[in-house]
């Protein structure tokens, strides 16, 4: 390592690990002065990253409170130091961190809140893409409908949630006291997406989540309807009717970027 690299190494080791070696590189009348000046960088590092996480996870912050959020964010900064150029992506592994770190993993609501908030960020600046209109879809001849295959809009995210994260989010937005955390027996599914530069979300019924996942994986519409019928214990006609109704709402909501018709060859 050349001397510039060695100096940067010592400086960074001070900021990240509070190592003292760099003190000798700093000009100043005494060690107290040098340490005070170095501390500006040490503390700015944490404050800036905690502030960035607070922007990404405002409901999580409100839920755990200012002080615990600072502890949580500091633990995250230590466990997952930033390897990204753009601060936008620093909070990317918060959900995984909260699921795996023993200080937080026994409160599964924390990871769920993080996943829900991160999904909104992803929807916010996901790639732009067309959103198919109903007229376009209606122009497909009826005999081709079983072969229709849909492409999800890039902003569309699905998150699983057992806790009342939506209620918490609404209360936070409206400046109300957050409701008590409550948990359902089974995890539900929340869809998050963007339409006309605005981010939306809503909870999905079980059959809706099933059909959407099947279609989003590239299964043709006819086959997806059959699976819906089998898995939900419906007859084929009811399943097709329900699927058509769901498809209509998805098109209106802008979940579908495009479609093609699968051919046999």
């Amino acid at each position: 390592m050349n001397s510039l690299a060695e100096l940067q190494d010592r400086f960074q080791a001070h900021i990240v690990h509070n190592e003292e070696a760099v003190t000798g590189d700093i000009a100043g009348p005494d060690d107290a002065y040098r340490q005070e000046r170095l501390h500006i960088y040490y503390s700015a590092y944490r404050l800036r990253l905690i502030a960035a996480l607070a922007v990404d996870y405002p409901v999580l912050k409100a839920f755990v409170g200012e002080q615990r959020f600072e502890q949580l964010a500091t633990a995250y900064i230590e466990a997952r130091p930033s390897m990204v150029r753009n601060l936008r992506w620093f909070g990317d592994s918060m959900t995984g961190f909260l699921r795996s770190d023993q200080r937080f993993s026994n409160e599964s609501i924390l990871a769920e809140l993080a996943e829900f908030e991160w999904a909104q960020g992803l929807a916010f600046d996901a790639a732009d893409a067309a959103q198919v209109g109903f007229d376009e879809l209606a122009s497909v001849p009826a005999e081709h409908w079983p072969q229709l295959r849909f492409i999800a809009h890039p902003s569309l995210q699905l998150v699983a949630s057992q806790w009342n994260v939506v209620a918490l989010w609404h209360a936070h937005r409206d400046g109300e006291n957050l409701p008590t955390a409550s948990c359902q027996d089974q995890a539900g599914t929340i869809a998050v997406w963007r339409k006309s530069y605005k981010t939306y979300f809503r909870s999905l019924d079980g059959d809706e989540a099933l059909l959407w996942r099947t279609l989003a994986a590239g299964t043709a519409f006819g086959e997806a309807c059959s699976r819906l019928a089998t898995q939900m214990g419906m007859d084929e006609a009811s399943a097709a009717q329900r699927a058509a109704q769901l498809l209509r709402s998805w098109v209106e909501e802008g979940w579908i970027q495009g479609f093609d018709i699968v051919t046999d060859d």
Partner: protein, 278 residues
């Protein structure tokens, strides 16, 4: 070779998007933070393109890390070039600093030692970035809180050497000169007098936070009188230079910043008259 003088600008901030489009404020241009628009799509790029249709825009980055001893991040440079091709900014700038090493990012503008080794290192990187982007870049002086024992020259000698070697342009942050002058005990006017005037393409103004024993560059408050005076001094020496106000925290309504920008116009006008009559 400088670009044209764009006049008086403001930092583009998300809270002002709608108001800018609706009210078309008397701001000559906007400075957009490059990283905020290095995203795949959505609102940020939508608004930037709409505002770009009405105003000149320049791109100002915080992640180039031109002084780091890590290899240049080509992925970052490609993303920056893609954004520049899309937005067609009047110019592109970043800071004379490093932001991390060993692939870690500290997300701060960290100071360099002013050594011949650092000049060689940074100059070769500025040259490569300019080649890659196919345009000269502007390099900005940062606020700093420490001086390295290794330094063998002043900050302004360091900047002069880099500009001379790479033919880059300069973004002179007058507030940073004031802050660093206070923190390191130099006369900010000596710094400004020593810079190569013909290379100064843009000026930054901002507020800061005085902690008694030192000043921190916080961009969260109005510009103080001493910095206005130093700005006047700078314009007297340089003549008109594109000037903008940065505000990154406690961001007030657009009207407040437009009126602070009017103050910059007044100070610059007075300084230009003084220079003309001298």
């Amino acid at each position: 070779m400088r670009f044209q003088n764009l006049g008086f600008g403001l930092g583009l901030r998300t809270t002002h998007y709608e108001e800018i489009l609706e009210s078309q404020p008397r701001v000559d241009w906007f400075e957009a933070l490059s990283e905020n628009y290095m995203v795949r799509g959505g609102k940020p790029l939508y608004y930037l393109e709409r505002i770009r249709a009405d105003y000149p825009v320049v791109l100002h980055g915080v992640s180039l890390s031109i002084g780091s001893t890590d290899p240049l991040d080509l992925e970052y440079l490609r993303a920056l070039k893609t954004l520049a091709d899309r937005i067609e900014p009047a110019w592109v700038s970043d800071h004379l600093c490093w932001t991390g090493m060993a692939r870690q990012n500290i997300h701060d503008l960290l100071p360099l030692p002013y050594t011949p080794e650092a000049v060689d290192h940074v100059a070769s990187r500025i040259a490569r970035v300019q080649d890659f982007l196919q345009r000269p870049i502007l390099i900005e002086n940062v606020s700093s809180y420490v001086t390295f024992n290794q330094s063998e020259m002043t900050e302004w000698e360091f900047i002069n050497e880099l500009a001379e070697r790479t033919d880059c342009l300069l973004l002179l942050d007058v507030n940073n000169v004031y802050v660093s002058g206070f923190n390191h005990g130099f006369d900010p006017r000596e710094f400004i007098d020593a810079l190569p005037a013909q290379r100064i393409q843009q000026i930054h103004l901002a507020g800061h936070s005085n902690r008694g024993s030192h000043i921190i560059d916080t961009h969260d408050a109005p510009i103080i009188d001493e910095v206005w005076k130093l700005y006047g001094y700078t314009i007297e020496a340089l003549g008109p230079v594109a000037t903008m106000i940065e505000r990154d925290d406690h961001i007030p309504g657009l009207a407040t910043l437009v009126s602070e920008l009017d103050q910059a116009r007044e100070v610059a006008k007075d300084a230009t008259h003084i220079a003309a009559s001298a």
